[in-house]
Subunit: 115 residues, 2 copies
């Protein structure tokens, strides 16, 4: 039975989802965050983990994620200098979004392949 | 304490999230589904509800959502003919994704405005 929302709840939900997608839009931001939630990584390690992303797009998405405080860029004064990207503490707030998306993706694949 | 995933779990999660975003990508698909989950709507009603979307993009996104069986297009033989879009039963599987995104959007707005 569909639980009916009030008009006000409905429009505030809609605004929240639009706001969330404004920050998280595109097909790469959430996979990058998920990859870093699993372990901090250098640029090239991220390139390998998030299959199909180009260096230019990865650099651009990392900058957006840093601006939204979801990713932190750590510079180590080694020789040569090494840069490691980490999921920020704030990115933990995305845990439920990532879990439900992952569950839905798995279910959708079963539905599509199940035919 | 971050619950560590095994390598296999991590890559399968990543693939699931990438698959989900392949279907749901862009900033309009989920808001359209949410609007229809709340009530079936004609094209112009959807245009009003999902603020900022253009007619061309709405028509395109509705077609993708129909192909992925998330939206149904109902034609009524009135004069003139009337067309109503409805969230499909399958779109209910997106309930958790929509809820967690909505919660995150609300929290993120508080964090950004809270400064």
């Amino acid at each position: 039975m569909k639980t009916k929302l009030t008009k006000a709840e409905c429009s505030s939900n809609l605004k929240n989802v639009i706001d969330a997608l404004y920050v998280l839009n595109g097909k790469w931001k959430l996979p990058i965050v998920l990859s870093l939630v699993n372990s901090p990584k250098r640029f090239n390690e991220l390139m390998k983990d998030v299959e199909g992303i180009s260096p230019k797009i990865l650099a651009q998405e990392l900058k957006h994620l840093e601006q939204n405080e979801l990713v932190e860029r750590k510079v180590f004064a080694t020789t040569p200098v090494s840069i490691v990207y980490e999921a920020s503490e704030y990115s933990e707030t995305l845990k439920d979004v990532l879990r439900t998306l992952s569950d839905w993706g798995a279910g959708h694949r079963k539905k599509i392949l199940g035919r």
